[in-house]
Assembly symmetry: C2
Homo-oligomer: 169 residues x 2
């Protein structure tokens, strides 16, 4: 799939078929995540890949917006290691770039995905820290639910000329 088509048609996909995501596709998605740029090339990210049905049900209770984790064949929680954060607090941006790469790699594989925000909401972080047995210096930053879509990828137009400024504000 063409990169521009992937960018134009990536949508948040919340309904999935039962088809499993292969180990090869999981590898490709995580490889692309780790190719994101990061401040000082610190690559502060870790990934917890969850396929177990019981564990996914636990994850689905993280917020009132994460119910689809129970029905997604694969959930990946993206975390950041505070030990690796030597670059003045850029780690949420680094992890966000990694997640966006995951979303687009999934689109290229015709896999649907939705990004659920975790950090900086403390109760969500605490919930996932317990559910995933995360060490204290690991921050759960975002949760991505993945599966083959039971809804269509369709293009939307969000272009807003009024958000563009030239030379200065």
């Amino acid at each position: 799939m063409d990169i521009l088509e992937a960018l134009h048609t990536r949508r948040s996909i919340r309904k999935y078929t039962d088809t499993e995501i292969s180990d090869a596709d999981l590898h490709e998605i995580l490889k692309c995540a780790m190719l994101a740029p990061s401040a000082c090339n610190e690559q502060p990210w870790h990934f917890v890949a969850v396929r177990d049905e019981g564990q996914r049900k636990v994850l689905s209770g993280t917020t009132k917006y994460t119910h689809m984790a129970a029905n997604a064949p694969l959930v990946i929680v993206v975390c950041a290691s505070m030990q690796d954060d030597k670059a003045e607090g850029f780690w949420p941006q680094d992890c966000a770039a990694a997640i966006e790469n995951m979303m687009l790699a999934a689109r290229g594989l015709n896999i649907g995905a939705v990004w659920c925000g975790i950090y900086p909401v403390e109760e969500r972080e605490a919930y996932l820290r317990k559910a995933l047995s995360l060490p204290e210096d690991i921050v759960p930053m975002g949760m991505v639910c993945l599966g083959y879509p039971e809804q269509h990828f369709h293009e939307v137009d969000r272009f807003r000329e009024d958000r563009i400024h030239y030379e200065k504000w």
Copy 2:
């Protein structure tokens, strides 16, 4: 270009030819930025596109890492409106996803780009707020320098199996 090839070969490009970036390509890059996901679909982003040589020279002084802004034919400063931040502090992640989309759209157009971190370093924000006449409720979040590359896009391998955890930590 295939989406996976774009993800595999996106590199930080800091050396550019003199060739201008067309209005059509600028539009495509910003269209893709605005197609990024955002918390509650708030789309908190604004974009300041700078081509003026004098203004780019000013931007190049933002940090000791932003000298390439003086030689890039196009610099885009991505900002966030705090008025639009109703989603519990997710705006840096939203803007980071928009920037990563810009990096990949540029790659698809064979344009090189490098992402320079601004927020949360206060002196960098203050410098750009003055240089770009930004209102008080607008935060400069990141700077992207763009141009046709005078260096090669090449694939690197950053995959680290030790960063992947299964079912829990």
